[in-house]
């Protein structure tokens, strides 16, 4: 669960810290009524930016299993780890992360719900078989074919009715102002097997990016 706390008279986004240390990326810890909160800065995490910018459906709850594909992972990951608690699982892919070795060593000691997996023969959507059906797939990999990678991963690992959270450059989906065919295709790729629930722009925090939240129909 996410929390809104008031710090210095300003409302801020935070998650409840369930490990008591801030070793992952020097999170700002705030103690209120004996509970420790991790401040979640929307300027450094796209998921936080989407929440602050008016995301309405937030599918990551306690006990949720998440497949997490992101190249720069530290910030968002430790907050998701807070939210899902000890009974949830996050699967991160080792070889797409920058500086994965250092990071995973840090994490392994204090975050038991993060599991690292490897790609099978370098194929972007094939992982070791330890992942069972997950509830949420989070994709922010900044590749040309990221939509295809996301869709393929959902087909392999997402259960029916699960959610996809996909960060895309706004240019790819911007077809209101610029109705070219190419842009339409980008959205239609998703529409064949997903219901798009919301598209949140990350303006003010990340230029030219938006997050798509879609429900998987199977």
């Amino acid at each position: 669960m996410i929390h809104w706390i008031t710090v210095k008279n300003r409302k801020k986004l935070a998650t409840l810290n369930n490990v008591g240390i801030n070793e992952v990326y020097n999170e700002k810890l705030i103690e209120i009524n004996g509970k420790q909160y991790n401040l979640w800065n929307p300027y450094t995490s796209k998921l936080a930016a989407a929440i602050v910018n008016g995301m309405e459906i937030f599918p990551i709850l306690k006990k949720t299993n998440v497949l997490y594909l992101d190249t720069t992972i530290e910030k968002t990951l430790s907050h998701i780890s807070d939210i899902i608690g000890v009974s949830g699982k996050i699967f991160v892919v080792k070889d797409i992360i920058k500086n994965s070795k250092n990071f995973l060593e840090k994490v392994r000691n204090n975050r038991a719900n993060i599991f690292s997996i490897t790609r099978k023969n370098g194929v972007p959507e094939k992982f070791s078989p330890s992942i069972k059906m997950v509830n949420v797939v989070y994709v922010d990999i900044a590749q040309q074919n990221e939509t295809e990678v996301a869709i393929q991963n959902c087909k392999n690992y997402l259960r029916n009715g699960g959610f996809l959270m996909l960060v895309v450059p706004t240019k790819k989906i911007d077809f209101v102002d610029n109705p070219s065919r190419q842009n339409l295709e980008e959205m239609q790729k998703l529409q064949s097997s997903f219901e798009i629930i919301q598209q949140v722009n990350l303006t003010d925090f990340f230029k030219e990016h938006s997050m798509i939240i879609a429900k998987y129909l199977g």
Binding site: M1, I2, W4, T6, K8, N9, R10, K11, Y43, T44, I51, V52, N53, G54, M55, E56, I57, F58, P59, L61, T71, T72, A142, Q143, Q144, P169, T170, K171, K172, I173, D174, F175, V176, D177, M187, E195, I196, I197, Q198, Q199, N201, T203, F206, K207, E208, H209, S210, K215
Partner: protein, 301 residues
């Protein structure tokens, strides 16, 4: 190209000195030199001498409230502030900050002024009726209501112009219906954000169900405290509309000079099938509203 954009915005270089200053200013906005204003500082210092508004224009968005504001401030006996958004951020802003917007008590009495405020998004926020009731219990509330079908479409085109909405109207409505369904069946997924943004953006359909909002307001205010008028009259019968407002505010009737409509967007007409869908969607809600207000606005077309 795309990759380059992503890389540049994805990573904030922590070593950079300017970035450190930037992040610090974001954390401590009170020290931001760009936000400081001498006039504002003076007004906050003298806030104890200042009054709270007599009337509040609470809604609705895209319904002509901006035009109404510009018509009202032409009246010599009315002072009004626009888009203050105080009650939405009441947790983080103080009443002293709010008072600083309005004239001093002595000036008000000397000039015999009626003081008001207009923020068109107040209507939709679930916590504001209680907040206004505790702050200004005798406030006169003015509500301008537009045909919800037109309001929804106008709201959508506004968001497109702002660059917030990137999809077609039909898709946006479809997604919203989906979200309504998910919030209803799996309420645990709904984000617990009682902040401003969630009540304004992406609620084209829901903000048109006026009856639910007005009922929430009527739990705190008596029926006599409301003046509810249709936008149609503001555009087509301005003199009569303004006379009703002036009478309600107990000021002399006044003929305004500048009658230009404000904040008007230009966009393509809504297509017929979508309009029919929306008219059908809103019909039961509108009927409930007409029953509540004992008025009929003729919106089923």
């Amino acid at each position: 190209m795309i990759r380059k954009i992503i890389n540049s915005s994805n990573q904030i270089e922590r070593s950079s000195f300017t970035n450190k200053i930037r992040l610090w200013l974001l954390d401590n906005p009170d020290f931001n030199p760009y936000r400081f204003s001498l006039k504002r500082a003076y007004r906050i210092m003298t806030n104890q001498l200042r009054v709270l508004p007599d009337f509040v224009v609470i809604g609705s968005t895209k319904s002509g409230t901006t035009s109404l504001h510009y018509y009202l401030i032409q009246h010599p006996g009315i002072i009004s502030e626009r888009n203050v958004h105080f009650f939405e951020y009441m947790q983080t802003n103080s009443i002293e900050w709010y008072r600083a917007y309005f004239p001093t008590k002595a000036y008000k009495n000397f000039k015999k002024l009626t003081v008001g405020e207009q923020t068109a998004t107040y209507l939709f926020h679930p916590l504001i009726p209680k907040r206004i009731h505790t702050t200004i219990p005798n406030a006169k509330l003015i509500v301008v209501l537009r045909n919800p079908v037109d309001r929804a479409y106008s709201n959508y085109t506004h968001q497109v112009r702002e660059g917030i909405e990137k999809r077609t109207f039909e898709e946006a409505i479809k997604s919203e219906l989906k979200r309504i369904e998910i919030c209803k069946n799996n309420s645990e997924y709904k984000i617990n954000n009682d902040d401003f943004s969630n009540h304004v953006i992406f609620s084209y359909l829901r903000h048109g169900i006026y009856v639910d909002f007005i009922k929430a307001w009527m739990e705190f205010f008596t029926k006599e405290q409301f003046l509810i008028l249709p936008t149609y009259d503001l555009n087509n019968n301005r003199a009569k509309f303004l006379k009703q407002v002036f009478d309600y505010l107990n000021v002399q009737n006044f003929e305004i000079k500048d009658v230009e409509r404000q904040n008007v967007g230009e966009y393509k007409k809504l297509d017929k099938s979508m309009r029919k869908f929306l008219v059908d969607y809103y019909r039961p809600h509108n009927e409930r509203l007409f029953k509540l207000l004992e008025k009929n606005f003729d919106w089923d077309k």
